[in-house]
Assembly symmetry: C2
């Protein structure tokens, strides 16, 4: 019989310490792992230290820590040197969405680790089967797709490439439950993954409706927030069909599907945004107008919201499981 996993003895690594990588390092650490965090880009290390400290504080404020903050802090090792990864059983890559950059990173990870160390990518842009071929011993490679903030959200997609070994994929799936995730397992290596694919279908349709003058950005957001936002934390889209009653859907599909946008074209509006260097709320320069103070207030409010929606989702998962 296999020994049950002792998470505190399983070293994990993270390479790439931008916002997502820092957030994943905190998630792995507060789940109980010793964490080796590598900054592969010059000068990333100092920023990462600050970011990780802030995120750990946020996790503490949100009541997610079982132990004291220093207990976790000292279990995260930060370095620019890949050799700290040598005892890791799992290394998560979080660098930019560029094949060449990722290829170099995988080689450096492989140089320092054992042949059965699992290497995973957070990519949502490049197929796992393509990245896999850049990895020595490709059977140990898979996609682990996190949602921000990684230490709070339940979401996780685990994606196998064509060559991923079942044993490794199953081990990660089991581990993910110990991280407090509700992982979904993708047997196939699809680009974009489930939620992203569905959101892109939404984007295609909404840009179409806006470009044809049917609605506006503001009205869309209002409608979505107060309509879909009033049930989506409680149920998925098929559970929603069950709740609405299924009888009218066939007829509606028949009527509406032929009206939906089938375009492959990137919307003009998006071209204009990119040309206008619209970058989003972090730069206080987005589709909406924000002063720097407003942008900060917005980010703070969302951090607080995250905590509350996490708790709400958790309570209802318990009620539904009773």
């Amino acid at each position: 019989m296999r020994k049950p996993m002792d998470i505190s003895e399983i070293e994990t690594g993270v390479v790439g310490l931008g916002m997502m990588g820092s957030s994943i390092a905190v998630a792995l650490c507060i789940a109980g792992h010793p964490v080796k965090a590598v900054a592969p880009v010059k000068n990333e290390l100092e920023n990462a230290k600050k970011t990780i400290a802030q995120l750990l504080q946020h996790a503490a404020d949100s009541g997610l820590l079982q132990q004291s903050k220093p207990h976790y802090w000292k279990r995260i090792t930060l370095s620019e040197d890949y050799s700290i990864l040598q005892n890791c059983r799992l290394v998560q890559e979080c660098v930019i969405e560029d094949k060449n950059a990722k290829s170099r990173v995988y080689q450096k990870i492989a140089d320092q680790t054992k042949v059965d160390t699992v290497i995973s990518s957070n990519t949502s842009a490049i197929p796992v089967s393509i990245l896999q071929d850049m990895v020595p011993e490709p059977g140990r490679f898979l996609g682990i797709h996190w949602a921000e903030p990684a230490y709070m959200t339940r979401f996780m997609e685990i994606t196998k490439g064509e060559k991923t070994a079942d044993s490794h994929a199953n081990w990660v799936y089991e581990l993910a439950h110990l991280w407090g995730k509700e992982p979904t397992f993708l047997q196939k290596d699809i680009r974009g993954f489930v939620t992203n694919r569905l959101m892109y279908a939404v984007y295609r349709e909404i840009f179409h409706l806006i470009e044809s003058g049917e609605t506006s950005i503001e009205d869309t957001d209002k409608a979505f927030r107060y309509d879909a936002g009033s049930w989506m934390t409680f149920m998925g889209i098929f559970e929603r069909m069950d709740q609405m009653g299924l009888s009218d859907f066939r007829e509606t599909f028949q009527r509406v599907f032929p009206k939906l946008s089938n375009t492959s074209r990137v919307p003009e509006m998006m071209q204009e945004m990119v040309a206008g260097k619209v970058r989003g709320v972090q730069q206080a320069r987005g589709l909406y107008a924000y002063s720097p103070e407003e942008a900060r207030a917005w980010e703070n409010a969302f951090a607080k919201f995250n905590k509350e929606i996490y708790q709400l989702a958790d309570n209802y998962q318990k009620i539904k499981n009773e």
Copy 2:
């Protein structure tokens, strides 16, 4: 200068007292209107009395009542007789999605009311411009699209038909704010409305992914609930783009749009569901398996969730407006 509206003096009517109509009657009543509720279908009246009493109790339990419950209860008149509508300034139709049935109802409403009484439909299936032509004095007709439970959700779409008079549409828009709604105004008469259209784009894509073996119903729901469900109450989809940062979207659109489903075909799965008389959670016979007890527990949990998410959305709207 126009007198400010005194809502307690504006009589409103509801015709059709299924779940949605009953819920709208409660919404109009607790907003302050005297409400005349007509049951056009034989035997609907007794059920409607029970349903409205239950919903009023739910609203009371949720802390939505300014006055005592009996105060509101006695301001709702229930009848099978359309003549109770004669002093109504607005009559909302909530009967089945059938043109002939709606046409008969509009005629009966028009027979009892003044020519400037606004008549509205909750339809999300038939274009407002088509229904409008069945109404004597079509300029006073428009779509008012509510979300369940009507007395709790902020969502509301007000849709003009080709012949709808601006004065009537503006009056309803103003009134909707007194109902505690965040209405969106649709200048054009599109089928399906914004949120529905976007959800149908989601349905088309997800049935495609499931039929091609890429994912399952259960995994989709899990992914959507824990991913989209973790932000959608806080922000709309364009606010989300701002929050994510906009830089990668153009490239991703270019890559993913050509992969999205363009089908007009109703999915086979849906045909099978309809053939199998799968009807949803209310009949304890849905896409998922529910015992009657589980179905009840599920409905109760959702009613409780509704109250909490309403409060959460409200708190964050205040924070964002600060």
